[in-house]
Amino acid sequence: MSGRQHRQQSDRPGRGAGQSRPSLGALLASYRAHHLKVARDSARRLLRTPVASAMTWAVMGIALALPMGLLLLLTSLQGVSAGWESAARVTVYLADSVSGDEAARLQATLRERPDVADVALIHRDEALAEFRASSGLADALDYLDDNPLPHTLLVTPVDEARTAMGVDRLSGDLGGYEEVARVQVDMGWLQRLAAMTDLIARAVWVLTGLLAAAVILVIGNTIRLAIENRRDEILVAKLVGGTDAFVRRPFLYTGIWYGLGGGVVAVVILQLSVWWLNGPVRDLAMLYNSNFELHGLPADGMLGLLLVAVSLGWLGAWLAVRRHLDAIEPGEIAGS
């Protein structure tokens, strides 16, 4: 290369980097192109070590699927109690001495109450026949001289009274009639179920918080190792004028990909578990005369889970980057 040529070729360097300020549009375009490139490179890096990446995804997936699964179970349970509450009926057993006519009169009286939607009368003979048919104790019943069963009224409250309080008040009133021997509201176990789901809900949220923290720590540690592995690259990038944002970007994208992968694993685990459990659950529920069913994740739930997973991945990466990346300074390149 002759001196002349050289001079022509590089007449500009003295003016430095300020010589050609690119336009804002061009800067934005190259910024976007850079993001795309970094995102692609980070994804490729993860795929280059498929086993290690898959293990991280699996850890994340399990940690996310566990609380999500419990939340699904919880919403299904809350659906059950809600369904039963709306079907609440009060069973009123009349005294033995009450005759069929008196029972029918009481039925009519109760129908007039504003908080009662319907009253059904089960005559004691009818009840006996049903009991005989369903209990298998027909022979034993034959030994009895007379019908041991009382007349029964099934009182259905109006919609507005179908709350725990409304039903309480109604059953108190019903107990006040002199024909009534006993009022039975099957609310006790519903309240227990409600209290239990409440307790489980809190436990699930605690568990969710702990597992989310675990996910952040796992990602943070993985990113820390990635930072160690790419130390030279970070040093050089900082040396040639890479900003902190530039140097952090690949690691933040790595965190996002870890999060997304973990989220996908969690969704797959959840859907498979629900599908696998639902047959037996339905059989069991049938035995309890319930149409209880485990529900899988709806589409927006899946999307939400993926978003949460991505955010956790990003957060973990961000923490690791804050803690470890800024400590790498190119001063160590130059020796002492």
Binding site: H6, R15, S30, V240, I333, S336
Partner: protein, 226 residues
């Protein structure tokens, strides 16, 4: 272009790396920085690259006072300073081309411009044909030239070199020095830290000598040449 005014650098212990160092380098000037190991050569270069801050005195590069430069401004200062190291600091997980492209990438230069400018820089150091190779496949002298291409690819007004010929035989060293001379001819301020006295004397350029952190009176450049 580079100006030191009464610059001192003390490290935490009572070790003082630089004492009251003052000098100035103009545009297109090429100077050598010499002195025994531990005399403070690297510290001086680190102050220019903002890897260290002075304990006292002023460091001015390109008209900007570096002492009070906020941390987030540092990358933008470094973009105007090319740096070459004895151990090259090349990345072996990518091609020669990608190594040289790094300073342009951090600046957000567009894809087409990167291609054009990287090839121009590689052409200047005579390695255009090796752009797709991994630096591992290159000889020591070639690796050093890749390092130089990376340092000048974004046409910085200042070029620093720390023992750039440390591992090279005299003939290759002379080649490298010739490159540096060419850059200074087009207006780049070049500061080269080196032990290689024979080389310095053959070039007859200005010489800054450090001893125990102090700058000795600059011997007149003409002494050897004359």
């Amino acid at each position: 272009m580079i100006e030191f005014q009464q610059v001192s650098k003390r490290y935490d212990s009572d070790h003082t790396a630089l004492r009251h160092v003052s000098f100035g380098l103009g545009r297109g000037e090429l100077a050598f920085l010499t002195g025994h190991s531990g005399a403070g050569k690297s510290t001086l270069l680190k102050l220019i690259l903002l890897m260290e801050r002075p304990s006292a005195g002023k460091v001015v590069v390109g008209g900007q006072l570096l002492n009070t430069m906020p941390r987030r401004q540092i990358p933008y200062v470094r973009r105007h300073i090319g740096a070459v190291f004895q151990n090259h600091q090349l990345l072996f997980d990518r091609t020669v081309f990608d190594n040289v492209a790094m300073p342009l990438e951090v600046m957000g230069v567009s894809h087409q411009d990167i291609g054009r400018r990287v090839r121009a820089a590689l052409d200047k150091v005579g390695l255009l044909s090796k752009e797709k190779m991994n630096p591992v496949q290159l000889s020591g002298g070639e690796q050093q030239r890749v390092g130089i291409a990376r340092a000048v690819v974004n046409k910085p007004p200042v070029l620093l070199a720390d023992e750039p010929t440390g591992n090279l035989d005299p003939e290759l060293s002379a080649d490298i020095m010739h490159l540096f001379e060419q850059f200074s001819q087009v207006g780049v301020t070049v500061l080269i830290a080196t032990h290689d006295i024979a080389l310095i004397e053959s070039m007859g350029r200005r010489r800054l000598t450090l001893a125990h952190g102090e700058l000795l009176t600059t011997p007149p450049a003409g002494r050897v040449v004359a």
